[in-house]
């Protein structure tokens, strides 16, 4: 009797819990799903309201106009360029310093590690960093996206933790053949630590793709250095202040009604473009993020 009632209670709980999880997933996905629907719907029709899960009058016009402006495709390329360079430099230098500091007999192992770890906790702040970039002549230069972010202390910890698992005998075998540490790094360490480097690369890629604040403070003065996220930010800020008009793209209405665009539709299209790379690769790579999260948690 007791057993029966308990399982009955379990049934009610399980049903409610499952229902909650479904509702939760809807809340997580709906805002984005809705934006995709709006981005594929005719702009004038969208104003009537009521677009929820699917476009009512399907069109590619919003995307065509976004790509026709020139500034968005250019910003997309700036984002791609900085993201790839960030990933390559970060993986290479982070792996290199992690290898050196994983050598137990290296003379400066402790002090160099200390310098890197402490750098995670200190940050000079907005203004001192601004003047550093200024003094290094990096302001309004593409290299301000690349040079200041080549090594990351958190990623260093992830890779170093991973390197501890590589058997010393592999390294010794190269040394026997007369290979130096740099050869070992290129021939053994880089290929063998692919899982950890993939994780680090993904973290860096997401961060680089999503960043807009460095554009705001270091490179807003040059339009051709604006990244896609920065463009989207500008557009959102200007379309929120409706009174100031719709911004450069939104004002580009055309005579034919079905070709007209509105800030709402353009905004949806740019949002989808800015999120697309992440959404597309996400299902395939998300397990690496979780691995990285757990590796990073293992400190010292």
């Amino acid at each position: 009797m007791n057993r029966f009632s308990k399982e009955n209670g379990g049934f009610v709980f399980n049903t409610l819990n499952t229902a909650f999880m479904v509702l939760f997933s809807v809340v997580m996905l709906y805002p984005f799903w809705n934006t995709i629907a709006v981005s594929f719907n005719e702009a004038v029709d969208t104003i009537r309201g009521g677009i929820t899960l699917f476009p009512r009058k399907f069109t590619l016009q919003n995307y065509k106009l976004v790509f026709a402006t020139g500034s968005i495709p250019h910003a997309f390329m700036v984002s791609v360029a900085r993201t790839s360079l960030n990933v390559v430099t970060n993986i290479f230098f982070t792996a290199m310093i992690a290898y050196v500091l994983s050598r137990q007999n290296f003379v400066f192992r402790k002090s160099f590690t200390f310098i890197i770890v402490i750098s995670m906790y200190i940050n000079a702040g907005l203004i001192p960093n601004y003047f550093l970039m200024k003094n290094l002549h990096l302001l309004n230069s593409f290299w301000v996206y690349v040079i200041p972010t080549m090594v990351n202390a958190f990623n260093f910890l992830i890779v170093r933790t991973f390197l501890r698992g590589i058997p010393e005998s592999f390294i010794e075998s190269v040394r026997m053949d007369g290979g130096g540490d740099f050869t070992i790094f290129l021939k053994i360490i880089l290929p063998l630590s692919t899982p950890a480097l993939a994780t680090v690369g993904l973290f860096v890629a997401v961060g680089a793709w999503n960043s807009w604040f460095d554009t705001l403070i270091y490179a807003s003065g040059r339009v051709n250095l604006h990244t896609l996220q920065y463009k989207l930010m500008e557009f959102l800020q200007s379309s929120q202040a409706q009174s100031r008009g719709a911004g450069d793209i939104g004002a580009m209405g055309m005579s034919d009604v079905s070709n007209m665009v509105t800030p709402v539709s353009i905004r949806a299209a740019i949002t989808v473009i800015a999120a697309a790379p992440i959404i597309i690769v996400y299902p395939f790579v998300q397990r690496y993020f979780v691995i990285g999260m757990n590796l990073g948690g293992v400190k010292e």
Binding site: G10, F13, N17, T18, F24, S25, M28, L29, P31, N34, T35, G50, I51, T52, M96, I97, Y99, V100, L101, F106, V107, F108, F112, I116, S119, Y121, I122, N123, A124, G125, L126, I127, P128, N129, F131, L132, P148, V151, G180, D181, F182, F185, V206, W209, N210, S211, W212, I217, Q229, L232, L236, Q240, V264, A268, T271, A274, A275, Y282, Q286, M293
Partner: protein, 296 residues
Amino acid sequence: MISQRQLLIMSVPIILYIILFSYVPLWGWTMSFQNFRPAKSFFAQEWVGLKWFKFMFSDPVFLRTVRNTVMMSLINTTLGFISAIGFALLLNEIRSVPFKRITQTISYLPHFLSWVIVTGLVSTMLSVEDGAVNNLLITLQIIKEPILWLSEPKYFWGIVGATYVWKELGWNTIIYLAAIAGIDPTLYEAAEIDGCGRWKKMYHITLPSIKPTIIILLIMSVGHILDAGFEMQYLLRNGLVQDVSDTIDIYMLMFGLQRSNYSLATAAGLFKNVVNISLIFAANEIAKRAGEERLI
């Protein structure tokens, strides 16, 4: 030493690079004790002692940003903890492995979207014209007229808290799920034999088992009380809500880069840093006393 030449060649430039980008700018903190003028050399700057700090602590605008920062940080941390622990416990009760995995994957998707995109989605959802939240509330007859969510100061902290939870809930849950996965299953079996139901097992086994994780994360979050996040507030704010939306970071940006009062902005940054670092060390000390592993 000779045998380590290559190791030195590989590491010294990187260490110098880290010193240049992380430690050298600390020198810039001297600006907060000067009437800093960018055109002048360091030796020609006028030293003003604690002038900017005195100004700051008597400036109602700055004090308001401190209040906003602390309040939003407390709200986000509290909501973040409760939602992540609750969600981890509930997700752990889902029996179907594929369903559990899909739900979890969906839950941390927003973590990887930029704040620009997320705040854009939030303002679309909260819009007065055809926004999903207003539409839903009107359909359910909870309200009659759409609410101007982002223009009313009284809603701002709540919106920031909800946005934070929406974006980071799934990601914050990972660490708890890992801790739950590490619990010895025989504990549950023993509890079942003693006649414990689902809630009792959750309360007497799962929660106590993840308690160390919760405590460590709570102590760590103390060190970030002045980091309420910057992007959320900067992107969601507007002139109507600036009294409650502006954080210390926004104050620094406004005075520093937009009004070129570099000394004042540096002073605000230094204040934030000193508080942060002291809190991190204090938290580390508390963790040690509490018998938990060291954080730093």
